[in-house]
């Protein structure tokens, strides 16, 4: 409040000169208003807490409801509190939410808003700025910022009705096919002992319960591993359709990972070199093949945030990660450009005992020679132009 200090000093001066007791009381009144306003505003913000409740993970196309609780945990009321929450423009328009509250002592309020997960990515909710002041304007308004939180939007996952990826692993027999080998780590049941069964297969506890010899039955070995090699090099996609093609490639990778882990219950890994927006640096991503659902989430987490970056071509990435691959791994290269370097890398992998295939995303037609060479090497190539094409992936 402008001229408040000169006014107050003048009040004391007048009171001193005139020696009228009540004028001192008036001067005290204004002085106390000033001091109490300062204390009130200072304490007010310190005792206000905020808490956001929302699902921190969502898929593209989902609507995420966010509820923010504003709580005054102190004994002093807060006459007015203006909160302004910054939100990602990709998920809500306008990219903020503002509310004004009046909070009594111990009171809490909620406000809600919906976020629309249109695109994959890692988005930041907040920071939440809160501003308050006193009722007379004696003290300048004070504001503070509360922390921000992240929400991860996974890429869209398409439903793949079937997937026949090639395999070179003698242990990799899909359940629909004839099992050639058994996995001794997976007991699927018991059966009566037959002559010739190894004593090691006797299930002693079941035998004791049943009163007759029972042996264990094992599930077919399902050890096929798949590595999704995702090309996120800027030069890996045509200039005009670069963004759209790379997004389609990521959707393809997510859909494949989901199908392999959830439907086929097999292991899948991910290899890519991309820009990580969290660190703003080029990062090398390698997730070893695993078959748990939690691993699928890890894969989707990575796919949610990776971005195109000028970096290593996919062929170089494959060559670099080759020593980490288990024998018999099926490699699926997802890229928008099938150049000679990539074909050479895939050919080398094939000769090394790996099964390879390629998903070409919005790529121009391959030259005849390249197609013939790929066929000769046994590299199956599937072009996709739209998300719906994934449903028809052989």
């Amino acid at each position: 409040m402008r001229r408040f200090f000169p006014f107050l000093l003048f009040l004391f001066f007048i009171a001193l000169i005139l020696r009228i007791d009540f004028f001192f009381t008036i001067a005290y009144l204004f002085f106390l208003l000033f001091v109490l306003a300062r204390l009130w505003v200072g304490r007010g913000l310190q005792q206000v807490y905020f808490e956001r409740q929302f699902t921190p993970r969502a898929f593209s196309g989902d609507t995420v409801a966010v509820e923010v609780q504003v709580r005054n945990s102190g004994r002093l009321p807060v006459p007015w509190l203006h909160v302004h929450e910054s939100l990602p423009v990709e998920m809500i328009s306008p990219p903020f939410h503002s509310e004004v509250f009046s909070l009594g002592a111990g009171e809490h309020r909620f406000f809600r808003y919906d976020l629309h997960a249109r695109e994959r990515g890692v988005y930041t909710l907040g920071p939440l700025a809160a501003e308050t002041g006193d009722v007379l304007g004696l003290e300048p308004t004070r504001s503070t910022n509360f922390g921000s939180q992240q929400i991860v939007v996974y890429p869209r996952v398409m439903h793949l009705p079937r997937l026949r990826l090639p395999t070179r692993s003698p242990l990799a027999a899909l359940p629909a096919r004839m099992p050639l080998f058994e996995d001794p780590a997976r007991v699927s049941g018991v059966r009566d002992y037959e002559r010739g069964d190894s004593p090691r297969r006797i299930h002693w506890s079941a035998t004791a319960s049943a009163g007759r010899l029972l042996v264990k039955q094992y599930q077919p070995a399902v050890a096929r591993e798949t590595l999704l090699a995702l090309d996120l090099n800027l030069d890996g996609y045509e200039g005009r359709r670069r963004r759209e093609a790379s997004e389609l490639a990521i959707v393809a990778a997510a859909s494949l990972a989901n199908h392999i882990i959830v439907r086929e219950r097999l292991a899948v890994g991910l290899a890519a070199e991309a820009l990580d927006p969290l660190t703003h640096t080029r990062e090398r991503f390698f997730l070893a093949a695993r078959s748990e659902r939690a691993h699928l989430i890890s894969v989707l987490e990575v796919l949610a945030r990776v971005r195109l970056v000028p970096g290593l071509p996919l062929g170089a990435v494959l060559r670099r990660e080759r020593p980490r691959l288990a024998w018999g791994t099926t490699i699926v290269a997802i890229t928008g450009r099938a150049d000679e370097d990539l074909l050479d890398a895939l050919a080398a992998l094939r000769q090394g005992g790996f099964a390879v295939s390629m998903l070409l995303v919005q790529a121009p037609d391959l030259p005849l020679l390249t197609r013939e060479r790929a066929a000769l090497l046994g590299i199956s190539i599937w072009p996709i132009w739209r998300e719906q094409d994934l449903e028809h992936t052989p």
Partner: protein
């Protein structure tokens, strides 16, 4: 608002008009204070209620209308005067043509006051209309709120001056020995209370306009709460203000004069001694040259100014010790308040504070103060180490119980201590419910046990364990915000624990 604001302004104008009229009447006893006050109040009332209508219809042509209004005021005042006091004796033509009858003192003064009040209130009403307008760029721009508060303060100062003059004559003001004026000054109280309420309302309107421009929805309960908080805030400050002491019997200026006399006396003695010491060798040399047998001596010290007689300062021959203590307390309170105001003023203006600090006398004073503090703290430290003090301290320490009762104040704890407190509280409560931590278990080992027993609070338990680990085993700084977040986590865990206890 179309009713309350004009009413408030009218009440405030009445509060200001009353003492002004009283002072005028004290100077010119033939006039009538009520007449002058009524002229002002009715003018303000008329201006307040016609302001909006006139602005809307006449726009910039308002001054011509105001001039006509002033003429109408004059006629009304004269007619009222005639109605009250009657017509003067003599022939009609005599007094109708007599300019002195028309422009008599009371009418003129009433007219001048009415016009002055009308202008002031019109300005205030214009500022009320401007509340929330976009700020203009320019050095001379004053926002409507600043203008209103400035007018409020100015009116308050004018009111207090005239209210004071209405109670203390000008001659008496110069008399520092007069007794203080006690009792309530109603018009001052009403003026400031109504003014503060109006300022609060303006503040709310300003915020509401700003929020509306930003598209922010304001809750419907904001206005009634605002009113309640304003009344409570002013009421609390007023209650404390009425309790604080204000009366003192010692003449203020006399006390200040006495303090000054004492200080000057001490300074006089110091200066005299220094000059005497400097002149002593010169005097001795002079005596050698003169060959005088009389040894040089210090000149006779002229007496310093006598200190004031404290008995003459007080209204009583010798005030009781309680009165004296109260008086000193009042003066100290006033000095403390003023000092706090000045300190806050400077703290909010770092540029000005820096300029003042750079002044040479203040720099010297700060250096002196720092040296004095250093010397005093050194003396105190060495005094502590003297044998009796050491013996006494050791004796007291030995006498202290092994586990003295200590009260842990969470609010006074550091953020690191607070985080540790929350985790240890979790351990204690979990132990009370039968799934306490076993000694060999680390926090990470114990976390699955907690999650098994409190599955609904699994994320919070993980967060709490992580916070404790970082606080206990690392040297990372723990911020108050982290402590606050841990507290929120602890409250949720505690709710889960209470729920489990109820279910059991």
């Amino acid at each position: 608002m179309n009713v309350l604001r004009p009413l408030g302004l009218t009440v405030m104008a009445a509060c200001v008009a009353l003492p002004i009229s009283q002072v005028i009447v004290s100077v010119a006893p033939g006039l009538h204070a009520w007449f002058l006050s009524a002229a002002c109040v009715l003018t303000v009332l008329e201006i307040s209620y016609t302001h909006r209508i006139i602005r809307g219809q006449f726009g910039v042509d308002i001054w011509r209308l105001r001039a006509i209004e002033a003429g109408v005021y004059f006629v009304v005042l004269k007619a009222t005067s005639v109605a009250i006091y009657g017509l003067p004796a003599g022939a009609l033509s005599n007094w109708l043509l007599d300019i002195r009858w028309w422009l008599d003192g009371e009418t003129l003064i009433a007219l001048v006051l009415a016009v002055a009040f009308a202008l002031a209130v019109d300005g205030a009403l214009q500022d009320f209309d401007r509340v929330g307008e976009a700020a203009e760029h320019g050095r001379d721009y004053i926002s409507s709120v600043d203008s209103l508060t400035g007018q409020f303060f100015t009116g308050g100062v004018v009111l207090m001056i005239f209210a004071g003059l209405a109670r203390v004559s000008l001659i008496e003001i110069l008399n520092t020995e007069r007794p203080p004026v006690t009792g309530l000054v109603g018009e001052v109280l009403v003026y400031f209370l109504v003014g503060l309420l109006l300022i609060s309302q303006v503040r709310l309107e300003l915020l509401a306009v700003r929020w509306q421009a930003q598209g922010v929805r304001t809750p419907p309960n904001l206005t009634p709460r605002w009113v309640r908080y304003t009344v409570a805030f002013i009421g609390l400050a007023g209650l404390v203000a009425f309790v604080l002491p204000t009366g003192y019997t010692l003449g203020t200026l006399g006390v200040l004069g006495g303090i000054l006399s004492y200080a000057l006396g001490v300074l006089w003695i110091i200066v005299f001694l220094l000059i005497s010491l400097m002149l002593l060798p010169i005097n001795w040399l002079a005596s050698l040259i003169r060959g005088s047998a009389v040894p040089p001596t210090l000149p006779a010290q002229p007496p310093p100014p006598p200190p004031p007689n404290i008995n003459n300062l007080a209204q009583h021959p010798l005030p009781p010790w309680l009165d004296t203590a109260r008086d000193i307390f009042v003066i100290l309170v006033i000095i403390a308040f003023v000092a706090y105001l000045v300190w806050n003023y400077l703290r909010d203006r770092p540029g000005l504070y820096g300029s003042l600090k750079a002044l040479a006398p203040l720099r010297a004073l700060r250096r002196f103060w720092a040296a004095l503090r250093h010397r005093v703290s050194g003396i105190v430290a060495s005094a502590r180490e003297t044998a009796p003090m050491v013996w006494l301290r050791d004796r007291l320490r030995r006498a202290a119980p092994a586990n003295p009762w200590s009260y842990f104040r969470l609010g006074a704890a550091t953020p690191r201590e607070q985080v540790l407190f929350y985790y240890l509280s979790l351990l204690r409560r979990a132990g009370q419910q039968g799934f306490g931590r076993r000694p060999p278990q680390s926090p990470r080992d114990y976390e699955p046990v907690l999650q098994e027993n409190l599955p609904d609070a699994a994320p919070e338990l993980q967060a709490m364990t992580s916070a404790f680990e970082e606080t206990r085993y690392s040297e990372h700084p723990v911020t108050p915000q982290q402590a606050k977040e841990t507290r929120a986590v602890w409250q949720r865990i505690r709710a889960a624990l209470n729920g489990k206890k109820r279910d059991a």
